[in-house]
């Protein structure tokens, strides 16, 4: 059934921009490439907004339940009967929601970059890569097939690689891009094997069929996958955990998060788009996509929950100690994604009407706005100060009033202060956790207080702290193209929370009305306010309180500021163990033993021929002697032995 067929335009427009700018950009569109890219994205955004309106308000609901439609489907690669990679467009609540988020944020970033990246030599390339990324991400959210999602999964990975390494002359950027790609590739290995497992047992790669078969306890496929086991764990759980490993890698979940902070080497708008709002939530999206199947395996959900909650906590602790503003934001992203993850985890293991799924998606939605806002604002600040270090900043609030306001709104949103958007979504997640697992709830609560603290530490360090800068400073607030996205996103961060999200996006498509319980909201909000006040007390003016606080925590502070030595551990494993103990010996063996054996064969042959060569002395007389000897010998044979 074809429904909303024009939806294919949404990913296709950025793709067209990519091809056009990638092939001809350097020559013909040196200046205008930004406009071309933005125009394409504008088209995409309009189409996706129209789609969302059409789906949510006009035609998506049948008998009170939001349906799943297929907009188009195309057999891309058929492995065998029933098993094929299709390129399809799924239209359901989460894909439409993601479509809007991705195209909208991407549009904002495109506009912002017009000012931010002006004068760059590889301007067309930048827009080409942005187009490629947007295309891949949109393709990812529309995926109707688990292999299709993997295809686009890899494509977003590579566009992220290209964009992180955009400043290719900086060794740190090159290293960061490499790290990001390899770490996520490693995680994708799990994803791939998970696909193989799930695909093999369910005998299909199509999401709809796969979910249908694996959630029906009477189907042969379900029986097969639960019967199959490896190391005492059922194949279903293996498949899901492996798929989740891929999601965890992309979403920078502990312990695969090490690439995200480094990924901040890319241009800041890129960080806003890829490493805050869209690509990093792909893991959450993947789990949400397969949510019905995850519900069939308690163990897998348990893993999702604990990975999510530990990532949220660890990232928040590390964020309190970092000085690079983009890294603080990166860790806060990781922490917020942890929230989304564990919300999904607890939603599956809780009661049927648990709001976790909705909460997770809601948080994804609001987070996209306020986090991209934070990054873009940080970008505006960096653009002005030419430094990423918050210690170089301070007192910027008079110089950059618009940025200041935007940043403040975003901070309030992420801290969960009503009535900003983050409050509503976080509230729902905490409620879900409270209903199903008290320990998770407690950690979530604590993390939310930490979030408020480190965000306002950042805020006060950038915009207050040091004395006012001189007005005659050459610093000025950014131009219109950079202000516009900030204003638009600020408005979004303000109002996104009022979207009655549970009436649109739910696990089963059946809308429900979520209520706000004042009593329940009280503890998180109070904690957040207290945390903000502490941050204000410590960082509003330059003083030595932060050092004292750091000393108070001693070892913990040091460990956190060194990111718990996880990077060092990875470095040790890759550089020392893999290179020295696997790669080195492999190369050595090849050169000396395998090839040595071949050379030995050649040597033996040569030695043997050297030996027979002695007979061929080149002296005619000895040949004649041999010949004569032969004649005598033959004569003897003929005379005496030939009867």
């Amino acid at each position: 059934m074809s429904y909303l067929q024009y939806i294919f335009l949404v990913p296709l427009l950025p793709l067209a921009a990519f091809v056009l700018l990638g092939v001809f950009g350097r020559k013909y569109f040196k200046k205008s490439s930004g406009i071309i890219g933005t125009a394409a994205l504008l088209g995409s955004t309009v189409v996706s907004l129209y789609t969302a309106w059409n789906y949510f308000f006009v035609s998506g609901k049948v008998d009170g339940v939001y349906q799943k439609f297929s907009a188009f489907n195309f057999k891309w690669l058929e492995f065998g009967p029933g098993i094929s990679i299709d390129m399809g467009g799924t239209v359901d609540t989460i894909s439409v929601m993601m479509l809007v988020v991705v195209s909208f944020v991407s549009l904002m970033v495109h506009i912002f970059s017009l000012g931010y990246m002006k004068g760059e030599e590889r301007f067309p390339t930048y827009y080409a890569f942005l187009g490629l990324f947007t295309f891949s991400m949109l393709g990812l959210v529309l995926s109707s097939n688990i292999f299709q999602i993997y295809v686009f999964w890899e494509l977003v990975g590579v566009s992220s690689y290209l964009l992180i390494g955009y400043y290719f002359e900086k060794p740190s950027a090159v290293a960061a891009s490499k790290k990001a790609f390899i770490v996520t590739r490693f995680a994708d290995l799990g994803f791939l094997i998970g696909i193989l497992v799930l695909g093999f047992y369910s005998e299909t790669l199509d999401f709809g069929l796969l979910i249908q078969r694996l959630t029906d306890p009477t189907s042969t496929q379900y029986l097969a996958i639960t019967a199959g086991s490896f190391l005492g764990v059922s194949a279903l759980t293996w498949g899901l955990v492996l798929v989740f490993a891929g999601g965890a890698g992309k979403s920078a979940m502990f312990p695969l998060h090490i690439w995200l902070p480094d990924a901040m080497e890319g241009p800041t708008p890129v960080s806003a788009l890829i490493h805050a709002a869209t690509m990093v939530v792909a893991g959450v999206f993947l789990v949400a996509r397969l949510f019905p199947v995850f519900q069939m395996s308690a163990a897998a959900l348990e893993i999702v929950t604990w990975i999510g909650v530990s990532s949220a906590l660890i990232a928040a602790i590390i964020a309190c100690t970092q000085n690079d503003i983009k890294r603080v934001l990166a860790y806060s992203t990781m922490s917020q994604i942890g929230y989304m993850m564990f919300a999904l985890g607890v939603a599956g293991s809780g009661t049927a009407d648990n709001p976790g799924f909705t909460g997770s998606m809601f948080h994804l939605f609001t987070h996209a706005f306020f986090k991209s806002l934070l990054f873009l604002a940080a970008g505006a600040v960096i653009h002005m100060v030419h430094s990423n270090d918050m210690r170089d900043m301070g007192g910027l609030r008079r110089l950059m009033p618009v940025t200041h306001l935007a940043f403040l709104v975003a901070c309030l949103a992420i801290a969960g202060i009503p009535p900003f958007s983050g409050f509503f979504s976080k509230e729902e997640i905490l409620l879900a956790a409270y209903e199903s697992n008290k320990i998770v709830y407690a950690i979530g609560l604590f993390t939310s207080a930490l979030t408020a603290f480190y965000m306002f530490r950042l805020y006060f360090s950038i915009f207050w702290n040091k004395s006012q800068r001189q007005a005659n400073d050459h610093h000025r607030e950014a131009g219109f193209s950079m202000k516009l996205p900030l204003v638009v996103l600020t408005v979004c961060a303000l109002v996104a929370g009022f979207v009655p999200f549970s009436e649109f996006v739910t696990a089963d498509g059946i809308p429900f009305i979520s209520q706000l319980h004042i009593a329940f909201s009280l503890p998180p909000v109070t904690l957040a306010v207290v945390a903000i006040l502490v941050a204000m007390f410590m960082y509003r003016k330059a003083n030595n309180k932060p050092e004292k606080a750091a000393a108070l925590f001693g070892g913990l502070y040091k460990a956190a500021s060194r990111k718990f030595y996880i990077d060092e551990l990875y470095m040790f494993v890759t550089k020392k163990v893999i290179f020295n103990f696997i790669g080195g010996p492999a190369a050595w063996i090849d050169k000396n033993i395998v090839d040595g054996f071949m050379n030995l064969l050649a040597f033996i042959t040569a030695a043997f021929s050297e030996f027979i060569k002695g007979i061929q002395s080149g002296r005619v007389q000895s040949y004649a002697l041999y010949f004569f000897g032969g004649v005598i010998g033959l004569a003897a044979v003929f005379i005496y032995f030939w009867k």
Partner: protein, 104 residues
Amino acid sequence: MASVPLEHILFLSTALFFIGMYGLFTRRNMITMLMSLELILNSVNINFVAFNKYVWPGKLDGIFFTIFIITIAAAEAAVAIAIIINLYRSHKSIDVEDATDLKW
């Protein structure tokens, strides 16, 4: 006149053959080697003549062959001497051991 038995003649030719063989194997001087070769050819000639006379007295094949060999031997000697002279011109030696340019 009592005829010489065939064995005597064969003995002579065999002796001649081995003398030639010995010379061919041991001498390094090409001229001597050529002379040894002539000895061998002549021992064969003697055999041909002798067998023709004693075994097939009515035929002339052996004689023909002998004449044939004498002719070839003359031609061969001419060619060999030419080679030896050329070798001497280029190598200032007619020792076979010195002519190793074509050896591997």
